[in-house]
């Protein structure tokens, strides 16, 4: 008997037992759709996190002071040292020293209490002293007024640019531009308001609220507000994402030279990149995907055992048919083949329908829940392969049981 005949016989039997077949197909279909959608949801979350992190500033390196070892041999933690200077920042900005660095922004940050001089509202937030390059590096702009410029830095101007939330806290509905705020007793006039980036998305991954901060010229910060000239950090933007690691090397080499440190392990600064943040977040998401995928896989296994159960029941209730087919000349291997074909047809049909259901779900779910789903062809192909395997694996036992029934026992059963 040819494979074509076996296929025909199997299909005939699937068709004639409609209810049983459709229940089996339904079970596999749901399992497969669950696997594809779970993986798709995990992938979607990964993509979302990476795009959120990209929005913080593209191709960004952050140089922090710290990890210094004092003369007494005590190693100090991140941020404890006062080793970064404006001279370091100026050196990194040189195109000769670091051709892959596009922009450099030295930053002095400190918490400070702000007072609205007109109404005496107070608000505590982070004050950043920096240069005009800050806006470029951070990927920010102003929606009202203007950002600090080179002249402000040169002249130590008493001006401030407010985050949108900060402006709202201090001035409410009033136009903040032209108002005056006092920081540590020094009056600063508000010249602009930063664009809103959406505090919820950025605060979750960076730990600070991007819409609640104040930017002042760096010279104003060092000489009028805080009285220190050591930097909290230097923000470095690479020319492109491809040159990020080159920019990292250049900054590292230059700073080691500037600080006269010979061994990289003794470095008194730390360079972190946003891409390391991305990889951390991605690995968290991957763990989640594996977990959810595992659960979906188990449900698929349960579905597979369901298929086996149905095939076994089918063997039992078709003992007469099997006996008759054997009396008419069917060999055990033909009977086995027929059952295998039936099981894999059911598995494959369930897999295909499950893939269709997953595609429909990937369109409907984002509308219903707000979570993005990104389907991959690999996941869909894999799920189909799994469905076929389920059909074959869980069809083998019932099939060989059916094949080895003695024909008379089979014919006798009523």
């Amino acid at each position: 008997m040819s494979w074509f005949e076996t296929l025909r016989t199997g299909l005939e039997s699937v068709r004639t037992h409609r209810l049983r077949s459709s229940l089996t197909v339904l079970g596999i279909m749901i399992g497969i759709a669950a696997v594809i959608l779970t993986v798709g949801l995990g992938q979607g979350a990964q993509n979302q996190v990476s795009s959120e992190i990209t929005a913080l500033g593209t191709n960004l390196l952050t140089i922090s002071p710290g990890s210094s070892t004092s003369s007494a041999g005590i190693r100090q933690g991140l941020g404890s040292a006062t080793t970064l200077s404006q001279a370091d920042a100026a050196a990194l900005a040189s195109k000769v020293v670091a051709p892959d660095i596009k922009a450099v922004a030295p930053v002095i940050s400190s918490g400070a209490s702000l007072t609205d001089t007109a109404n005496s509202n107070t608000w505590t937030t982070t004050v950043n002293g920096s240069t005009p390059a800050w806006a470029t590096v951070r990927g920010r702009s102003v929606t009202q007024g203007r950002f600090i410029d080179r002249q402000d830095v040169t002249d130590h101007t008493a001006v401030a640019v407010l985050g949108s939330d900060t402006a709202a806290e201090l001035f409410g509905p009033l136009d903040p531009v032209g108002q005056t705020v006092q920081v540590n007793g020094v009056p600063l006039s508000v010249i602009g308001v930063l664009n809103t980036v959406g505090s919820s998305s950025s605060s979750s991954s960076t730990g600070s609220d991007q819409d609640d901060q104040v930017v002042v010229p760096i010279t104003t910060a060092t000489e009028r507000l805080f009285g220190t000239s050591s930097l909290s950090s230097i923000l470095v933007q690479a020319t492109s994402s491809g040159t990020l690691s080159a920019a990292y090397q250049e900054a590292d080499t230059e700073l080691l030279a500037m600080h006269q440190i010979t061994s990289p392990t003794q470095a008194d600064f730390t360079i972190t990149s946003e891409s390391s943040l991305v990889s951390t977040a991605t690995s968290v998401d991957r763990t989640l995907t594996v977990l959810l995928g595992g659960i979906a896989g188990i449900s698929l296994l349960v579905g597979g055992i369901g298929v086996m159960n149905i095939m076994l029941v089918s063997v039992t209730e078709r003992i007469r048919e099997i006996g008759l087919r054997k009396a008419l000349g069917a060999t055990p291997s033909l009977i086995r083949r027929q059952f295998l074909v039936e099981a894999s047809v059911l598995g494959l049909a369930g897999g295909a329908l499950g893939a269709v259901l997953a595609v429909v779900g990937s369109v409907v779910l984002p509308h219903a829940t707000g979570y993005p789903v990104s389907l991959s062809g690999v996941a869909a192909g894999g799920a189909l392969a799994i469905a076929l395997t389920i059909g074959l694996v869980f069809g083998v036992y019932p099939a060989s049981r059916a094949a080895h029934l003695p024909p008379i026992d089979a014919l006798r059963s009523e």
Partner: protein
């Protein structure tokens, strides 16, 4: 054609063993028409299963058309059933989901006959039992007599030398029975070897020879014609 020598069959269910056949020696020549009679429990169905290669004897020797069946593997037995034997059962044993045509084609499928040839031969067999106009009917749409005729068509479609009929009239009314008996008689006239199992003396009366079984032993053998 059939040569049984001291054939026994013992069924074991747990610690209990039942001897269904206790030493049967029987020869059936080619072209003979033999009726096997006996009350229920006499072992006549077991005898038919062994003769039909559906089961193997516990001891003794069975040669079918010269070949020793006792030493055959499962595959070879299936081959013998497919090529040499046609079965007719009391309960017809048609597949209810298939048309009469597909039912009759089934033995040819397992014999590896191609599709066009299969269809031609199945139609001819159905025509021969007088059901040429019912080929697309399913068993449920046919009367008992018609179903048994489909089963006979299925038994003769592979053109086997031996036809085994196990109580072929047991589930039929007298008119249908007469039709089925006439049909079997025709097959015998055409030169086939027929073994008919029945407990009805009238049915057995059409055979050339009848043998009688009791408690797994052959008790009487008589020529009828």
């Amino acid at each position: 054609m059939i040569d049984l020598e001291e054939v026994t069959k013992v069924y074991r269910t747990g610690s209990l063993s039942v001897a269904a056949l206790r030493g049967i020696t029987l020869r059936v020549d080619e072209g003979e028409y033999v009726a096997v009679m006996g009350p229920s429990g006499s072992g006549k169905s077991t005898l038919m299963h062994i003769v039909g290669c559906l089961d193997v004897p516990t001891s003794g020797r069975y040669r079918l058309a010269g070949a020793d069946v006792g030493g055959m593997a499962v595959r070879q037995l299936a081959e013998v059933r497919s090529r040499q034997i046609g079965f007719v059962f009391q309960q017809f044993n048609l597949l209810p989901t298939m048309t009469a045509l597909r039912n009759v084609e089934l033995p040819l499928v397992y014999a590896g006959v191609d599709r066009a040839d299969r269809r031609r031969r199945a139609l001819r067999a159905l025509g021969r039992v007088g059901l040429g106009d019912r080929v697309q009917h399913r068993p449920g749409e046919l009367s008992g007599g018609q179903q048994q005729r489909v089963a006979i068509a299925r038994a003769l479609v592979t053109d086997p030398a031996l036809i085994l009929a196990d109580e072929p009239t047991g589930a039929l009314d007298s008119q249908s029975s007469a039709e089925v008996i006439a049909l079997l008689n025709e097959l015998h006239q055409a030169g086939r070897t027929l073994v008919l199992i029945t407990h009805d003396p009238d049915v057995a009366g059409v055979a050339q020879r009848s043998v009688r079984l009791r408690d797994g032993l052959l008790v009487a053998e008589e020529a009828l014609v």
